[in-house]
Assembly symmetry: C2
Homo-oligomer: 405 residues x 2
């Protein structure tokens, strides 16, 4: 046996990473399950008690204060995980796990507009890095296990393991993808998705009712939509970064930033008289596939999310980007003669593709979520949005690369 | 308008490549249509007149003589196209187009065991390079248009544009993928597929009857199958290269090599008393999804293809690799408790993934051809086969990269 492993190092490699990735999968998949169930619970509780949104500034203070007192080392969040993959630094503190979990749940309980993938990536990454010391992983192996953790988090929180695996390979550098982690990320993402489902935690089902066979004219419409989606991603990235910078410059005491953010967001929701922009916004995303929605939905969600996250609440950008993209696509169906559901699905994946610079993961995401019929439309939209979304994405730690004009 | 293009160079880039890629798409898509229709015709004619196989050595001489007299500059075939992408050399001579078309049709008419994607890539690549001079393309742009030609050829000959686009990005370097050509390859592949279908040329439909939800045990079976598929890809690559080298060393006069190869292949088919290993072998591939086949099918096809191509016939490796993988997967269902059709589908994509070092394109291929249910199985099989297939693939001009042990 050991002779076989020496003669064919690939078998040793496969055995080792099957083992390590499975541990990551069990950890990240269980964390996602716990997180999704809690998120569901706080979301339902908030929907039943909408007055909770008035407490958003208080929640903001708690989150800000917690991170100031015990979370200084992990305030980077997703960027900390990406940074550690690029440049082996000190171990990612385990406290990232409880802090981001509590921070995200408070954000959602009190109606902030935020997502969940950031949290899942951070849960996956921080768990994975706990294996570095007990298994005495080399810097290279640590890099691979962190990428596996990111893929496992993404794959299990959305129930899309193939997109999760490709995302883990794709997110690190803009415009380049290397395969050194290809086996660990696929095993970890598939395993984590299995573990989350094993805990009986399901995922939202989205359906695009009709997809016409693609023609050159329809392809041109998809391309135009892709340009709009890319512009929207650029707008989101710019506004979020601007709000972050502005808050840092003008509000010195960090816990006050989410307080101000909470006042603005809660005030806006009170003025709008609706909770449709709170939390993940899954019901609106589902609606966007089947009925015409107000064309301003996307911009309201964009601003509220940028304020929520830019001011220091926790969660992530991706589900709001799904919301923004799906409602923007829905709105585009006033002008572009493509089915509403198809445009919603294209926007769902393409705004995210532009904002995160991950066009291939988002194309695979479309195939996994909506089936293969929409593939050509999703591919054109994602690739075009990626080209048009500017050189800086939502993850500041992503390295610049090739392929953007 | 021109002010807009100057202010936002991305719009100039998109307009330019929409235009150039569309020309590539019309050319490569029409070439694939012509090629597929002719291939269908010669295949049917041969099936009706099996005695034609006796003429295989004569056809071999004709092909060898043609390439010796007028094809010295294009004998590299697919490798010539890949080389030109890596290192801008002289223009790919247009004669590659008629030579590889005639060579492939003669090979298939007379029953050689060969494929078609090599031909489609070369048709696409040689057509694309004809645009270099009239449009005065820079070396960078020429690289992109050649990649677009490769993707267009692959996407249109198999009716799988997304896999074709990813293939064009992935095939150049082992273990690395860059996005500089991402827009051109997707537009060219989607466009070429549309053009081929516009010519009323269809593609074979493969169906995996049942796909059980994946479990850890099933994932382990998929991994074991992936190791076998990778070993098979390694075997195919080694034997093909060995036969090529052997023929070059021992048979100085090039046109004699396919004569000897033709005698061996035709003799073997006569001795076996069947035409199931001639040509593309599509009927056997289709059967492999639904019924148990002889477990030696894959090795016979492997040897006959290695001899056919290694000795100088034309066509390509991919459809035979589909045959070899599908029948090997089918044979594995004697030992592995997974559905026969699923194992056939996994082998179909994974042996090719290993031999061409293109795991992501092959995963997307599985999604496009068989639907999303088989995705997790196909991903595990493709990634594992890629890891286990050794450092040299069927395309000698592919650059080595990272990610292989």
């Amino acid at each position: 046996m050991s002779a076989l492993l020496t003669r064919f190092p690939v078998f040793a490699y496969i055995s080792k990473w099957l083992f390590l990735s499975s541990i990551v999968a069990v950890g990240a998949g269980s964390a996602s399950a716990l997180f999704l169930v809690s998120l569901d619970w706080v979301t339902n509780y908030r929907e039943a008690h909408p007055w909770l949104i008035a407490l958003l500034p208080v929640g903001g203070f708690i989150i800000g204060w917690l991170y100031l007192r015990v979370g200084q080392s992990v305030v980077g969040g997703t960027n900390l995980v990406i940074d550690t993959i690029h440049q082996a630094g000190s171990r990612i503190p385990f406290r990232l796990f409880p802090l981001v979990l509590v921070g995200t749940l408070v954000t959602h309980l009190l109606g902030g507009s935020a997502g969940r993938e950031g949290t899942a990536l951070q849960l996956g990454g921080s768990l994975a890095d706990q294996l570095t010391r007990p298994f005495r992983l080399s810097p290279t192996d640590r890099r691979l296990i962190l990428m596996a953790g990111v893929s496992a988090g993404f794959g299990s929180v959305f129930g899309t393991p193939l997109a999760g695996a490709v995302f883990g390979l794709e997110v690190l550098v803009i415009g380049r993808l290397t395969y050194e982690a290809i086996f660990p990320v696929f095993i970890a993402a598939l395993g984590a998705d299995y573990v989350t489902r094993w805990w009986q935690v399901g995922h939202t089902y989205y359906a695009i009712a009709t997809v016409p066979p693609i023609t050159p004219v329809f392809a041109l419409y998809a391309l135009l939509a892709g340009i709009v989606f890319g512009g929207c991603a650029l707008l989101f990235t710019r506004i979020t970064h601007a709000i972050t910078d502005l808050a840092k410059r003008h509000i010195a005491y960090a816990p006050l930033r989410p307080v101000v953010g909470g006042i603005i967001v809660a005030g806006a929701m009170w003025a709008l008289g609706t909770t449709r922009y709170s939390g993940l916004g899954i019901p609106v995303i589902v609606e966007s596939f089947t009925q015409q929605l107000p064309p301003y939905d996307f911009i309201v969600k964009l601003l509220l999310t940028a304020i929520t996250l830019g001011m220091g609440f926790k969660g992530g950008e991706v589900t709001p980007l799904f919301f923004i993209g799906a409602t923007l696509g829905n709105g585009l169906s006033y002008w572009l003669p493509l089915p509403t559901g198809l445009l919603a699905g294209m926007g769902f994946v393409a705004v995210f593709a532009g904002a995160a610079n991950t066009p291939l993961a988002c194309m695979v995401l479309a195939l996994e979520l909506f089936g293969t019929a929409c593939g050509p439309y999703a591919a054109i939209a994602c690739v075009t949005a990626y080209l048009c979304s500017g050189s800086r994405g939502i993850y500041g730690s992503q390295l610049p690369g090739e392929g953007k004009k």
